[in-house]
Symmetry: C2
Subunit: 251 residues, 2 copies
């Protein structure tokens, strides 16, 4: 079912559609009186609503049902990815959102071929934010991940996070197999209490530099292997999210 | 390191490069005498070789080291995906290969919008096969997944597989959380013995039809939920592979 996010924290039994939603639901999707869709409030409440009145400019909906979906990962996962080439940032955001990421930070990695100058950067981030929004609606998320940009890895405020991990190809090559499992077990144990946050750092195509790795070590990051196969820069973050979802949501 | 697959089962200490590899290594990658790369035989043996002679048409390499990599998933996973739209088949193959899939079958799903007529089909499959080959080399796999096409789901020879699972959105909606875990535990237990095979069926964008689901039930497929978020047709197969890799290779 179609799903839209609204800026309001709470909504009455009967309310008019914000113009942006009117534009999509009525003009684009051609919904008519009697059609139903879902609305998500800023309080993450999901409302099932029915169109009860449609005019050329406005539309009114009635709330049929209010419910909470448990669709968010129990851990707030921030993916920090070295700026990748071409459209890869776009699909890290789209797929990462489907897989439950809470936030995305793209940083200018030492080995990043792609560069975002300060002029391009705002519209790039805005475009990725839009992709996150669409993916969140399509995946029936109740929160939309935030996308931000950091000129350098060491500009990220790492101390905000409870857990810190980075996917390190060298670790994988050396057959490192236990860090991710221990991390997930810790998160599983912590899950009972208040929600925890995890930041996972991934290099661009060229990987992370020795300096970047030692910066992360200095910030108490764990270096994890993600299995024996070499994954592309855009695939590794999805591996981590899927494995974490399996452990915390199906395990 | 660059890696190439050769048709030979075994190679002597000194051998000439097949023209296809010459074309890429010497012409495209501009490798020179003294440069090293890896060659994988049909016996899955990985050889580290050094270029010892390069002419305008031919190149000779010497074997420096012969070793077995343990980079293949312990279970042979076949992804059977309802024909998706646009270029999604291409990246299911690319990402699925990075994540360790053994084979891909694309089938014409009842709800598939995309159609492959018998004329287009061979070149479509050939293109996907090439993508699988490149991804296998890039991911340092020792086998290249095979890509095939089935006009309909019920044309697939399901009885060849030890384990059968399908991702069913309705199951997920009903909060099904145990099938995948039990399946992976069974595979973990079986792992000790001879290698097992798993087929995982995924619908196209429109999902699987009631008929297709009942066909799969009749074939003793298990219906698994893949967590609380709705994933796109091309994302669900990657979720399964990543979760399986975590359980069998890092768990």
């Amino acid at each position: 079912m179609q799903r839209y996010f609204v800026k309001q924290a709470d909504l009455p039994e009967l309310f008019g559609l914000p113009s942006e939603i009117y534009q999509h639901a009525i003009v684009v999707m051609r919904m008519k009186k009697g059609d139903c869709f879902e609305v998500v409030t800023t309080q993450k409440q999901v409302l099932l609503v029915e169109l009860v009145e449609v005019t050329a400019q406005t539309a009114k909906v009635r709330v049929l049902k209010r419910f909470e979906h448990q669709v968010e990962l129990p851990v707030r996962v921030t993916l920090a990815c070295g700026l990748p080439k071409k459209d890869k940032a776009e699909w890290i955001v789209q797929k990462g959102t489907e897989l439950g990421a809470a936030n995305f930070i793209f940083f200018g990695g030492e080995y990043s071929v792609a560069k975002w100058d300060s002029k391009k950067q705002p519209q790039k981030v805005a475009r990725l934010q839009k992709i996150a929004q669409n993916a969140a609606e399509q995946a029936h998320r109740v929160v939309t991940p935030q996308v931000t940009f950091a000129p350098r890895l060491n500009k990220i405020a790492f101390n905000e996070f409870d857990y810190k991990v980075t996917a390190y190809e060298e670790a994988a090559k050396q057959g490192e197999k236990t860090v991710l499992k221990r991390l997930f077990e810790a998160l599983q144990a912590a899950e009972k209490g208040k929600q925890k946050s995890l930041i996972a750092v991934f290099g661009p195509e060229g990987g992370l530099s020795a300096t970047e790795i030692s910066d992360l070590r200095a910030q108490a990051f764990e270096l994890a292997g993600l299995g024996p196969r070499i994954m592309r820069a855009e695939t590794a973050p999805l591996y981590l999210l899927a494995a974490l979802s399996f452990v915390l949501e199906l395990g």
